[in-house]
Symmetry: C2
Subunit: 321 residues, 2 copies
DNA sequence: GGATGATATAAATGATACTTATAGTATCCG
DNA sequence: CGGATACTATAAGTATCATTTATATCATCC
């Protein structure tokens, strides 16, 4: 955690600063706040001393703002207005629940988890939003506090201040149209007659697959790519190509298993892990509990079907925790 | 402005509260903060007294959070982390400019203003973003502080705490394919052979046109609609229909004026006004200056061409201020 | 070039954050 | 169960910081 250096101001100082901005004069601000003029003058001088910069241009009247003062007005105004909303929000929370929880769910778990997760969150919060999509978009939303947690691949490995709960690890596998014989060796892969249906490079899964194939020196023509597991699975089911995907993506695709064939991916182990990521400490025990819930639902609803369809997975698809 | 009731806490109290949350114990928090245990105990009791709610459940150890406490942790954590970013941001502003300015520009001014506005803002801020689109989306971004100001129709008439600067008022006009004779009376409108090309009801312009035509008892079949002035203008230029639009939308459409014909809209006066809207007091004199800039660019770059193409406008298209 | 209305500084005062000291309470463990 | 341990609450004193009164200095307007 960052060094606990003291904050250079408190909310009271910002309140006084904003009053001066709006009145254009310290004396005016003092009248409005029910203080004396020197109190305001000293509060402003103290604030400037603490941040080490002048915020007012005292050579003109009405008082002008310096560059730093302009920015401070913008930021302080936002901060105070948020602070004012906190106490009312707390009072509305007497039901013992959060007022709002916002979750991001990677596409490949949308079918498996969106509804149960939404239902579970609804028992914890007054208002719930579950957004499915690419984890990249969710990651930036999480960092900018427009989202409370996300479930997806970990694209934030280098970011401090987050906590992670591993949910499930799964190997990449091959998905082929029903009649096609699966390649057994890496070399068979290089000679596939069918084109490769790809995940878009906008998704981390797409990037990982791309990199793995490059490492294996498997070069396949670029023909069709999709953002979503459904697009990939449906295209394979239609016989248009084969894909490197994962068991959960196949489940997400909701495709008729009679029309496709799943097979191990030849070559060295290649897997991915889905994780729940939240800002550390902000939601207390909640992220851990939500992760537990997700694991139990995956174990109960999804794993049995996938193990039945791909018995050769033999535990390489496993719930963490 | 809202009644200036005092804030029920300052940042120091929240800092202590969060330390207790993370340590799970007041004594632990005291050690971490370099305080004594009673100091923390009293700060917490004081905080609870001010907001009128208990935040900790003292009957269990490690200390549990109440419902309100859970929400407070979430909000306080966000507030403190934003507060910590302020001072560094101020120090980066020694160039005399804002670190970031985010503008929303209504589609109908995108061609006329996006580039010059962007250039002008770049002289004021380190980083600038100018987003074009429907004002409805910009309005919500403005309110949620994801945008600093917007230029468009005023869809926020009932919202407090905003300041407005009128830029330009323009009448709605008819746009027809070159060869078509313009309707002169309202009744001619009702008998147009060509279909009406509409602005989507997602845009305020579209809604206003729709309402005006309903008031005039002009009912025209629904065939083609667009979100953007380009779509409307290009469709009219292709001879596919006629449109009720405005001079600035026509300019935005960037259509060859030889292929279309502009004419007054029969019936009572019907106009719209474009406005610059910002959160009050946050950017100081900046909104007024930006509005001045926008007016001068419109007067210099756009008005002469439109007056030449539609001499019958005769001052009904006018810059405000 | 004063008159006026503002800001800055100094010293005194009041509020409140913090400390020491002590009493009360939860949890652990034999 | 009972005592050891570690925590929290309360009381009273102290230190610190915000605010006041009093006074000096500065900007702006005729």
């Amino acid at each position: 955690m960052a060094a606990r250096e003291a904050l250079p101001f408190d909310l009271r100082a910002l309140e006084i600063f904003l009053a001066v901005c709006e009145e254009g004069a310290m004396a005016g601000a003092a009248r409005r706040l029910g203080l004396t003029q020197p109190a305001v003058s000293q509060a402003v001088a103290d604030l400037e001393g603490r941040i080490g910069l002048a915020v007012f241009d005292r050579s003109v009247r009405p008082l002008g703002l310096t560059a730093a003062g302009g920015v401070l007005r913008q930021k302080a105004s936002a901060l105070i207005s948020e602070a004012r909303q906190i106490a009312p929000a707390l009072r509305e929370t007497e039901h013992g629940r959060f007022p709002l929880l916002r979750a991001g769910l990677v596409d490949s778990l949308a079918r498996a988890l969106a509804a149960p997760l939404g239902g579970y969150l609804a028992t914890l919060a007054e208002e719930v939003s579950v957004l499915s999509g690419l984890t990249a978009a969710h990651a930036s939303a999480l960092l900018s506090r427009q989202m409370d947690f996300l479930v997806g691949l970990d694209e934030l490995e280098d970011v401090e201040g987050l906590e992670r709960f591993a949910l499930v690890t799964e190997p990449y596998v091959l998905l082929l149209p029903a009649g096609v014989a699966p390649p057994v060796r890496v070399d068979d892969l290089r000679q596939m007659a069918l084109p490769l249906v790809r995940f878009s490079a906008r998704s981390k899964t797409g990037i990982e697959v791309e990199r793995h194939l490059r490492r294996l020196k498997v070069e396949l023509p670029r023909r069709l790519e999709f953002d979503t597991p459904q697009g990939v699975a449906a295209t394979v089911a239609a016989g248009e190509g084969f894909a490197v995907t994962t068991p959960l993506c196949i489940h997400e695709g909701a495709v008729d298993l009679a029309r496709v064939r799943c097979a191990p991916l030849p070559g060295p182990a290649f897997q991915r892990r889905l994780t729940l990521i939240a800002r550390r400490q902000e939601l207390g025990r909640l992220p851990r509990e939500i992760a537990d819930f997700c694991r139990s639902r995956l174990a109960a609803d999804v794993l049995p079907a996938l193990d039945a369809a791909m018995p050769w997975l033999a535990g390489t698809l496993r719930i963490e925790g």
